[in-house]
């Protein structure tokens, strides 16, 4: 049995009496590519928001590598090792591509540098900056964004914006990466490429990936296991191929 990276226990949240998500139990092993699928309004992004501290779960809890993270702030959760991308891309639009990644590197222990050091431009400041930039360039090269590094993030084409978001999230050196509809709005070629990238980063960065996706082909091509959410509860959990044969899942997706 491999190491469990993320475990949720009866995770749930309600907004003013409305139970948006309830009893979600996930167990994700190290280096797994895990899918979270479901129809519109099923509560997938809400699960992400709970896992990253945007919302505080009202019931249940979750653990990252055995450490309980429930109730921690977004920043703290990120420091512990969960990074995410957003459904509607949230880049730092008015900053250059490389700066976006540099922000991701901000909290890495090896780039520690106090504000006073920076204010006075002590040697350590220069040293840190140079090393951060080198690291950022390495990451950008992996994502084939190196050439665009000095462009404003908002001027990138859509597919590259998605990639940049992933690159930025990886810069925070996470154990678990949450991807929120990474393939949304992409053409088949781009999707294909994205699948390769996701696998590549899993191996290269030795991380675990949990992703939300609509595109079932994408999910089935990429993930080993999935959880299907409907109306905030888990409809199905298990191997991705069986999911498509599950009558409940089919019903939820196709209706009727």
């Amino acid at each position: 049995m491999a190491e469990i990276v993320l475990e949720t226990k009866d995770l749930g949240i309600s907004f003013g009496g409305l139970k948006a998500v309830q009893n979600v139990n996930l167990k994700i092993e190290k280096n797994q590519l895990y899918g979270l699928i479901g129809p519109n309004g099923a509560g997938k992004t809400t699960v992400f928001n709970m896992l990253t501290g945007v919302y505080k779960p009202t019931t249940g809890t979750f653990y990252l590598c055995g450490e309980e993270l429930k109730g921690k702030s977004q920043e703290a959760i990120n420091h512990k090792g969960i990074a995410r991308t957003f459904q509607n891309i949230r880049l730092f639009n008015n900053m250059s591509v490389i700066r976006n990644v540099l922000v991701g590197l901000h909290n890495q222990p090896e780039f520690k540098c106090s504000p006073v050091t920076s204010m006075l431009k002590l040697p350590k400041h220069y040293d840190t900056e140079v090393r951060m930039r080198e690291r950022a360039k390495e990451i950008l090269k992996i994502f084939d964004l190196y050439e665009e590094r000095n462009n404003l993030a908002c001027n990138l084409p859509y597919g590259k914006q998605r990639k940049l978001e992933i690159a930025r999230a990886l810069a925070t050196n996470p154990k678990l990466l949450l991807l929120d509809e990474p393939a949304a709005g992409m053409n088949p070629n781009e999707t294909e490429e994205l699948m390769k990238t996701v696998r590549f980063i899993r191996d290269e960065f030795d991380i675990t990936v949990l992703l939300i996706e609509h595109d079932l082909k994408f999910v089935s091509g990429l993930c080993d296991e999935v959880t299907v959410l409907n109306f905030g509860t888990a409809l199905y959990q298990g191997k991705v191929n069986d999911a498509l044969n599950d009558p409940e899942v089919v019903k939820a997706y196709i209706g009727g």
Binding site: T45, R90, L105, C113
Partner: protein, 381 residues
Amino acid sequence: MNLIKNIKANTKPKYFTNYIIVAVMLAVTLTMKMTGNLARSNATLLAQISYSIILAVSLNLVVGFLGELSLGHAGFMCVGAYLGCFVANMLHEFISSPLLVLIISMVVGGVVAAVFGFIIGLPALRLKGDYLAIVTLAFGEIVRTIFKNLKAFGGALGLDSTRYKGNLFVVGFVVVLVTLFIIQNIVRSKHGRAITAIRDNEIAARAMGINVTYYKLFVFVVAAFFAGVAGVIYGHFATPVLYSFFSYNYSIEILVMVVLGGMGNITGSIIAATAITFINFQLQTRLSGDLAALKFLVYALILIVVVIFNNAPALSAVREKFSIRRFLKSKRHPSEVHDDEAAWDRVPTKIRMDEVLSVDVIVDDPYTPDKKDPTTKGGSN
């Protein structure tokens, strides 16, 4: 050796523009002073310019880089001026050097203002946009009202400060250089990136592990510190330190400097602060007697025309035509582009009035697909 390499890799010629501008201003005026060619009214003007620049640059850190609208900068200045001059008055008994007293009181005024910056930074964690703007405005007015009623600070008569008899503008410009050094270093470090990240997209910044609380307070404290220092310079420039000077109108005037100079553009702030102080000075001293009423008329017209010219969407073609930046850019070979060239000063959106509570708005993004999955409201809509 390694250090020199690192410094080289991290320094660009344009980093020095602002220092050079200020240093040249100082050098020229100082030479004029030495040779006896600097009229005293111009020395007065220069002192005013120096504290205006400090105010504008420090406010730019809040408005331009952090993206929070603050209308209470004069309040921090007020705290600094009163407390700094109060301490200076006491120190004059023990210390004979006015310069030393000035320096100590600047530090004291700055620190006290910074404490207030911390206090007013706390609501900034919870409030955004116009709501924060009105809170900062309220803060400025509260401070003023309190000083007005404190007998220890002279009440309605104001606090009698001791005017600095030497060349205040020289001290002022040295402080400007220090301000620029510290604020520009912050902006051009990882901390500056974190701050602009918060401005651009607070949610994403949080998700990247940026400690938003820490940085917001940090920015408010630093900006308030320098506003306080500027206040002490003001207090040594004119006596008495009177509450009525620090009204929200003055905060707005500082904001005007920042906006005209370009948000997030420090060079712009320096130029705009200089220009506005200069224009005000000219209007005040040229229009005497009955003409004085025209002063605000002229100032208002300049303001409206400049703002409309700079911002009206309909005039963008005209602006493009006269753009010196385009002129400069066209001369540069593409291969010369340095790392990290993308501008700071294309500041958008954070202070969008229509999204008071929203954390940010994505603009200029035709690619954003339709919302497919409105799950964020918890599956309800």
